[in-house]
Amino acid sequence: MDLKEKLVSSFLAFENHVDLDGYVHDVRTDAIKVFEEKGFPSKKEEDWKYTSLNSILKEDYSVFPKQENALEYKDIKKYFIHDIDTYKIIFIDGKYSSHLSQTTHDGIDVCLMSSALNKPKYQLIIENYFNKAATKDSLSSLNTAFSSEGAYIHIPKNKIVRKPIQILHFSTGNESATMLQPRNLVVVEENSHVQILERHQSLTSNPVLTNSVTEIFANKRAIVDYYKIQNDNENASLIDNTFIKQKRESLASVHTFTFGGKLTRNNLSFFQEGERIDSTLKGITIIGNKQHVDHNTLVHHIEPNCESHQDYKGIFADSSTGVFNGKVLVDKEAQKTNAFQANNNILLSDKASINTKPQLEIFADDVKCSHGCTIGQLDESAMFYMRSRGIPEKEAKALLMYAFSNNVIKSVKIPELKQRITNIIANKLGVNIGFDL
């Protein structure tokens, strides 16, 4: 039985098991039909031309977590931003770990999707928001069909959440191969402000496939900053589907830092449903060996006077491969749109490759839209200049690569996170130099 058949045939058992009526049940039932009809995407689809899922779909994944596994904080502390006070929503093999988490219902809700789906007091928000941003593509539908656990964050209006929220998904590798489908919902009401960090981490070399969906709603004048650290081991693959709906005058940003993983696909979509909205999509990818990273972005400008800023940097070593597919859609009504997109890449080896494809579809006639992509090597004259000052080759390369990605790091608003990203990059580049003077 292939993975698709296995998932489809598991659905009934899953639905019985979670025992839900009403809205969510209907959504799930529709979603499994979509997945059954479409199946996993293949390279024949334009959006998947450069990314093949074949190699990761052939594993015999366990699709439901069978047992509860425990972890000690000291063993996984390094995966947290632990030097500041934060809320934490922690999952181990798809199950919530209350022991490691720090949630709250004090004025804001930082808790679990499973409770939000089950408790009547959340019903209205679930009905208003759940699956209202996600598109009906096959992978998001698959996640929707099986959605039962993940982070649920609701920030009522006029709240500035001082502590960042960390969402961490660990897989212990106690099953030979695991498929996880976390589902996160973030609703930020008028004038509120929240910062969220998300990370998926596999703790053994057993294969893991995560198909994650995150829906984010930034209501009027809300500010949402979302940071993804993707530094998993090379047996773990991640398909991240993130959808953001913004209302007028809201600011939303997603930073994606990708250094690890076997195959990582980021489907990131912004929908601007109001005027004077600002959307920011930034990313740094530094990979090697046979790793593959695909950023597939969409910014849909629906209303006038909005902005979007995209800046993705990629550094590819060894036989690694990258894809950047960035679509900007400007509706006829979306006059005075400012949309910027940049994708810059450095190839460190003859065997590394990047396919970059900016797509602008503009139906308005009074807009500023720009896009640019570059693919190059490290500047040899800069290398000699630095080495002639006593900086060894490896450190000189690292400094140049850091400098190349610096303007993305600079826009991270949490200093401890910025420091952590800097350390991961130094570690990834095999140097011990402080970049941050």
């Binding site: 630095m386 002639s388 900086i391 060894p392 140049l400 130099i433």
Partner: protein, 250 residues
């Protein structure tokens, strides 16, 4: 300090240096002059260790050691410094961060610990004052958007920070107005001692009015064709290079 014997070098198969002989002792200032394309900058790059240049014959002995096989950074660690004719812009790396990395990597190569932050700041303050460099300038990206004069002043600031034994100034005077020229020359003169040496590559006498050379050499067609004292530079300023070309070609 530096002894170059019968040095031949080529780039992409094209022979540029065709038998350079030059000896420099501690405390000396040598000026290298000559028409465009004669091999002056190539000589500077070969001594500093640029990999694109292939040494096909001859030796470069620095402090008694053949440095031809050493990487550029290893030569820097031993005290060779090249002030670039065209300093490279490195966006995203501040002047301060660059110098901190350069100094600490040099210390690491010598088995020393990183320079304490306080000491580093003091050194930066002292040397930037010497070159009359504004502090704000130091937090800017290295050479990015710098004027020609700022780039050259920044080169000498780096030299002051690194305190090399042998400094090669490749057309440091080009792009400098008279005030900047005075500041740069003054900086170089203050850093001069009986233990270090300077090679000044220039087309013009005016820098040599400030940094007075002990010896002047003329490079033409990949060889040193004439050597003399400071008086030779004056003669070149007055008469140009044609008479030397005529002598060589005769």
């Amino acid at each position: 300090m530096l002894k170059i014997n019968n040095l031949h070098a080529s780039v992409e198969g094209k022979s540029i240096l065709k038998g350079i002989n030059l000896e420099i002792k501690p405390g000396e200032v040598h000026a290298l002059m000559g028409p465009n394309g004669s091999g002056k900058s190539t000589l500077a790059s070969v001594v500093a260790g640029k990999e694109e240049y292939e040494v096909t014959d001859g030796t470069i002995i620095f402090e008694g050691e053949d440095i031809e096989e050493l990487a550029a950074e290893e030569r820097a660690h031993k005290g060779v410094f090249l002030s670039f004719q065209y300093p490279v812009e490195i966006p995203g790396v501040s002047v301060t961060n660059f110098m901190k990395t350069a100094i600490n990597e040099t210390r690491k190569a010598k088995g020393l610990k990183d320079m304490p932050a306080k000491e580093m700041l003091k050194l930066i303050r002292e040397k930037s004052e010497l070159l009359e460099i504004d502090r704000k300038f130091l937090s800017r990206s290295l050479n990015e958007g710098f004027s020609g004069g700022e780039k050259k002043r920044n080169e000498i600031f780096q030299m002051a920070m690194l305190e090399p034994k042998l400094a090669i100034l490749d057309e440091t005077d080009s792009g400098l107005d008279i005030d900047a020229l005075r500041i740069v020359a003054n900086g170089v003169n203050k850093l001069k001692s009986k233990d270090n040496a300077v090679i000044v590559i220039t087309h013009y006498q005016r820098l040599l009015d400030y940094i007075v050379p002990d010896f002047v050499h003329v490079i033409y067609n990949g060889r040193i064709v004439k050597s003399g004292t400071a008086a030779l530079a004056h003669e070149l300023e007055e008469k140009g290079y044609d008479w030397i070309k005529d002598e060589v070609n005769a």
